[in-house]
């Protein structure tokens, strides 16, 4: 059974139709990659899943329940974490406070915190520092760490490699591989090389429509298809 299913989603922002027809299913486990060029509707798809934009018509099913139209905070509480493109850390709060916010009990599970420290050692070092003083890569780590500090069924990650140094991108990729052992990741990417390494299943979105979906292995092997749906922009 698939974990998350988007069925003929259509989302408008004001008078602009951003998503015209988006349907895909994210199976449980592993990394699902949504590829697409700038402005194709990748971020809008994630925001629609989180309830930050309301799709109409169309439906979003998560673990068998229809979550279309639910309040963002309720969607989050059902076990979907969102790591937005701009990282969304609270700069005025310390790293520790940012992390506490992501736990709903106000307490850390020791084993999970230890795992976060192992994945992102920098966070342990800057634990009591305000989040604004972190570098871009560290902010991204904090944002991802916040998503995994509690048990989540699905993590939506929006272009995590954008603007990061190659070495950090590498580390981030390793972290995602490890995280995806226990949690499903829906990753939005423009960086095909990065996506290729991580993804098990994938879809390509263009101009608000899904133009291809399948397994990453098939897609990566088919240069003609890549040229056709991704064009030269990726």
């Amino acid at each position: 059974m698939s974990l998350l299913t988007l069925d003929h989603l259509k989302t408008s922002i004001g008078q602009y139709h951003v998503l015209h027809d988006v349907s895909f299913s994210v199976p449980e486990g592993g990394v699902f990659v949504l590829l697409g060029r700038n402005g194709a509707g990748k971020t809008t798809t994630l925001r629609s899943i989180m309830g930050l934009w309301q799709p109409s018509p169309g439906s979003i099913t998560f673990r068998g329940d229809d979550i279309t139209g639910l309040h963002t905070s309720d969607i989050a509480r059902r076990g979907i974490a969102y790591v937005p493109e701009n990282m969304g850390v609270f700069g005025g709060l310390t790293v520790a406070e940012n992390m506490v916010l992501a736990t709903h009990t106000g307490r850390f599970d020791r084993a999970r915190l230890k795992r976060v420290y192992e994945l992102f050692p920098a966070l342990e070092r800057f634990w009591d520092k305000p989040a604004w003083s972190l570098s871009g890569g560290q902010k991204q780590m904090l944002s991802v760490a916040r998503a995994i500090i509690e048990e989540r069924a699905l993590i939506l990650i929006d272009e995590p490699t954008k603007g990061l140094a190659p070495s950090i991108v590498e580390a981030m990729g390793d972290a995602f591989v490890e995280i995806s052992d226990s949690t499903t990741i829906l990753l939005v990417e423009q960086n095909f090389q990065f996506a290729k390494r991580l993804g098990r299943d994938m879809a390509v979105i263009d101009d608000g429509r899904i133009v291809h979906s399948g397994t990453m292995a098939d897609f990566a092997a088919n240069q003609a298809l890549q040229d056709q749906v991704l064009g030269l922009s990726v």
Binding site: L52, P84, G88, F90, G91, G92, L101
Partner: protein, 353 residues
């Protein structure tokens, strides 16, 4: 010393001065000023919970203050001066304030900040008109003068010596006035401490997260409207209690002392001068403004005397022009401390690490 520690030390010194105020400054006016500072620290700090910690701009804070004051005053005036009516009136004021805050919050915290501000302004105006119009109940424009529990009467002797005379410590009579002052002090200190505890708790962190990025707070599972409404209710409850205490202290409640928009403007000025989002700033802002309101005239009188030989200066420093100088002080404060005194001092710490 870091900016943050410095501000906290200053605020603790203010509280220490307030604790010993009846013994340090032995005249009637000083004790009035000290009591007013206590009450305004609480009132301004509770407003800071809204504007500084959650980014809610409300003009109804004075209304909740007034509800507490009028609740207590009406009970004391209409039922009698016992502890029962005092408790009943305070409780009624509190319940009405919280209920109205919940209603306004749930109905209108979803709308944009400017509309919310307008709604609170309208509510506060309606309440002021009601207080003036329902004169049989509230005393109208004239307000109400009433008696408080006997413990707080000036003639009450807390402690008498062998001759039946009231005992003095360091020349201060242990009478009902002193008891009333320490009631004001104790309630204010406890409320201020509770608010400090609240903002240091996980709830306080959520509030700061909401202020910083509402959508992100929603995205990690916090219901922003619920939190905002809760804070609005808590601030209203604290303001209402401050109002009740003020009503007992003054033994008079009227539109001028409990509901007027002048009070609202004072609260806003105190928050801005002290610095938003720190609570410590509220204490500094309230102390400075109340002191200026009471003593700037005297100070200018002394200054005018001192420069009486110099042309023009005595005219400029004429005590009647105190409001002009107060205004100049505000402009200078805002210029040199754009984030308020505490805000600017505490920010300095975080830049230098």
């Amino acid at each position: 010393m870091t900016g943050s520690k410095f501000i906290k030390t200053v605020v603790l010194l203010i509280w220490a001065a307030l604790l010993f105020a009846p013994f340090l400054f032995q005249d009637v006016r000083s004790i009035e000023v000290a009591a007013r500072i206590c009450i305004f620290i609480v009132l301004v700090a509770s407003y800071d919970l809204l504007i500084g910690y959650t980014g809610i701009v409300s003009f109804a804070h004075v209304m909740f203050f007034g509800m507490g004051a009028y609740g207590t005053a009406i009970a004391l005036d209409h039922i009698g001066n016992g502890w029962g009516p005092l408790a009943l009136g305070t409780l009624c004021g509190l319940v009405v304030a919280v209920a109205l805050a919940a209603l306004i919050g749930l109905l209108s915290l979803r709308v944009k900040a400017i509309f919310f501000a307008m709604i609170t302004l309208a509510a506060a105006s309606v309440m002021l008109v009601l207080a003036v119009q329902l004169s049989g109940f509230t005393g109208g424009e004239d307000g109400m003068t009433y008696r408080t529990p006997d413990l707080f009467k000036t003639a009450t002797k807390l402690w008498t010596d062998a001759d039946g005379k009231v005992v003095r410590i360091a020349d201060v009579k242990l009478n009902g006035k002193l008891a009333a002052y320490y009631m004001v002090f104790a309630v204010s200190a406890v409320l201020f401490w509770l608010m400090l505890r609240m903002v240091a708790s996980p709830v306080g962190t959520v509030l700061q997260a909401i202020r910083e990025n509402e959508a992100r707070a929603e995205g990690i599972g916090y219901r922003v409207v619920a939190y905002r409404t809760a804070v609005f209710c808590i601030a209203a409850a604290v303001a209402s209690l401050a109002g009740s205490v003020y009503a007992v202290w003054l033994k008079y409640t009227g539109p001028e002392t409990a509901l007027s928009f002048d009070i609202m403007i004072d609260i806003l000025l105190m928050v801005v001068i002290g610095g938003m989002g720190t609570l410590w700033g509220a204490a500094i802002g309230a102390t400075l403004l109340v002191l200026a309101q009471y003593y700037l005239r005297d100070l200018m009188g002394v200054a005018a005397e001192a420069v009486s030989g110099v042309p023009l200066l005595p005219d400029l420093l004429n005590p009647d022009r105190w409001l002009l100088w107060l205004g100049i002080c505000f402009i200078l404060l805002v210029y040199f401390f754009p984030r308020g005194i505490a805000g600017t001092a505490m920010a300095r710490r975080s830049v230098k690490g």
